[in-house]
């Protein structure tokens, strides 16, 4: 009766220890949408992992090829629905490059302000969701969403919609910012560092977070460059490549900011690089808000086309423009044949291409770690599947 159970009592004969194939997703809360990971496990260790996508595929590119240039602008909101302003910016830049349009200075400043506010929203939400994946169920994400909501309120006031903003136009922006709105944005920017401090006190040196994230899913800089990885994922691996600095599009060269880099390229570095990037975004916002000039918000050349978008016919040619979206390099490739519709419209989606190395990062890790590695890649399925 008091006999202690011993390992040698287990009869292992006849027990088959073959590999186990597990489908994580497509309907799983940790895959951040309808995404499937086809994992092969040896015990709890991953020996193969194939990402399966396309559940949300709607052939966004063909939809855009069947309508006028301006009509695709609201559709770009639906790519990465967290960052509609950055998507608008990428598309507007590519068409402006194609048609050779100049953008008034005030509009450029407004664009930068919107793009940086978007970066704050994205990074704060992705850190919240990463904590969700770690098992801190919904408390950090609600702190994050409380702050995000303040920025979304501003978006709602200027564009009429919280998330699907559709605010930028070719050659400018849809509406001007009133002094009252600028004051509100200033308020958010001044209050945000305090929230970041609070968030960091809870997280950055948190023992559980450190143990779960450090040395997990390490990505070497060589592989990151070779696999076309961009955004915070690349910079966490220590590669200094930020398109705001390299291309200097819009008015970014006028602002002082640093490019935070991670020393190791693990999940923790990706978390911390995002925190630091938010601080840099706040710096850019602060400078942009204090130096925003008065003036036009729309190129004179484009005003007639606002009411008759099908008369807008860029000259025959092609353009590839890219922006540093919060998830990485967002590129738009547009080919014009001189008609009101683009002949070819292609989106270089950062979260789609960042998934290339998901398997490399997960091999040899536990299943629970694969979930946080995916969380640290930061994908949105609207953009992956297009």
């Amino acid at each position: 009766m008091n006999k202690i159970f011993e390992a040698k009592d287990i009869n292992l004969a006849g027990i088959n220890s073959s590999l186990l194939e597990v489908n994580i997703g497509p309907q799983h809360p940790s895959t951040h949408g309808v995404f499937r990971m086809n994992a092969v496990l040896d015990g709890e260790v991953i020996v193969s992992l194939k990402p399966v996508m396309g559940y949300l595929h709607r052939n966004h590119e063909q939809i855009a090829e069947n309508m006028s240039y301006a009509a695709s602008m609201p559709y770009t909101d639906r790519l990465d629905y967290f960052n509609s302003m950055s998507n608008n910016l990428g598309y507007a830049l590519s068409v402006e490059k194609l048609a050779g349009l100049e953008v008034p200075e005030r509009a450029e400043y407004i664009r930068v302000i919107m793009a940086e506010l978007t970066r704050l929203i994205n990074h704060i939400a992705v850190i919240g969701f990463l904590l969700n994946d770690l098992g801190a169920f919904f408390t950090p994400v609600l702190y994050a969403f409380r702050e995000r909501e303040k920025i979304l309120d501003i978006f709602e006031e200027i564009s009429g919609s919280r998330m699907m903003c559709n605010y930028l136009r070719f050659g400018g922006v849809k509406r001007d910012l009133s002094p009252a709105i600028l004051e509100r944005i200033r308020g958010v920017v001044t209050a945000f560092p305090r929230f970041l401090e609070e968030f960091e006190t809870l997280l950055t040196k948190n023992e559980i977070l450190c143990m779960r994230c450090q040395n997990v899913g390490v990505l070497s800089p060589e592989l990151a460059v070779n696999a076309s990885i961009t955004g915070p994922l690349l910079r966490a691996s220590g590669v200094n490549y930020d398109i705001r600095k390299v291309d200097g599009y819009s008015v970014y060269p006028r602002f002082q900011f640093k490019v935070p880099l991670g020393p190791k390229g693990d999940v923790y570095d990706r978390y911390y690089v995002r925190i630091l990037e938010m601080r840099e975004s706040l710096k850019i916002l602060d400078q942009a808000l204090s130096t925003i000039p008065a003036g036009e918000i729309m190129s004179k050349k484009m005003i007639p086309f606002l009411k008759s978008p099908r008369n807008f016919k860029p000259p025959v040619g092609e353009a590839y423009a890219r922006v540093e979206a919060p998830k990485g390099e967002l590129g738009f490739y547009v080919v014009s044949d001189g008609t009101p519709q683009p002949w070819r419209y292609h989106v270089r989606a950062p979260s789609f291409i960042n998934l290339t190395i998901l398997e490399d990062m997960c091999l040899g890790q536990k299943v629970a770690d694969a979930i946080i590695i995916l969380g640290s890649v930061d994908i949105v399925l609207g953009e992956v599947d297009r």
Partner: protein, 196 residues
């Protein structure tokens, strides 16, 4: 950003590789023979003056007479770019050598182009459909692709519905039988766009 002069890139490639036929089109380089692509990409990636180590985008276009793949190369090391390469292949039997062994970043993008345009990238380690499901027929991004008409039933649909106890109207059945007899599928009419 340091914008590269296409003519200079062209002369440099010709000097180094000799036999490669190149043509510059709208600040990009057309490689006349698709089989030369890996050679050119390898030169641009490894040459000390270029070091184009980052393949930003791989995309295809359908120009009716031919299919085209466009590569945008940048250098992360030197922060320069882009150099745009393009390769044209005929619509029947479109084959381009894969760049995955040089740039891992091409892996999903080439699969995407294979799926939507039907361009076969030779030497790709895992060339499967990525967006559409297995067993899907046709290439949706080609300009002559016709969508299925979701309103019209085909005979296979009628069979399935009846097996599952759904009453199918006689008119729909007759239409399905007619289509089957003609050996046609139920395809949607192409929307006529005003190109004016």
């Amino acid at each position: 950003m340091n914008i590269m002069d296409t003519e200079k890139v062209k002369t440099d490639i010709e000097k180094a590789l000799g036999s490669v036929a190149l043509k510059s089109i709208r600040s990009s380089l057309l490689i006349e023979n698709a089989q030369d692509l890996p050679k050119v990409a390898k030169f641009l990636k490894e040459d000390a003056a270029y070091r184009l180590d980052y393949l930003s985008s791989v995309t295809a276009s359908d120009f009716i007479e031919y299919l085209e793949t466009v590569y945008h190369l940048y250098s992360m090391e030197k922060k320069t770019g882009p150099v745009t390469l393009r390769v044209r292949v005929p619509r029947t039997d479109p084959k381009i050598p894969s760049l995955v062994s040089l740039y891992r970043g091409a892996e999903f993008q080439e699969r995407d182009n294979f799926d939507l345009f039907g361009i076969v990238y030779e030497g790709h380690p895992d060339l499967r459909r990525i967006m559409m499901w297995e067993g899907f027929e046709g290439f949706p991004m080609r300009k002559d692709y016709l969508q299925e008409d979701s309103e019209t039933l085909e005979s296979a649909d009628v069979e399935w519905l009846e097996k599952n106890g759904v009453k199918v109207p006689e008119a729909a059945k007759a239409k399905a039988a007619e289509l089957r007899q003609q050996g046609k599928r139920a395809l949607a009419e192409r929307r006529v766009e005003d190109k004016g």
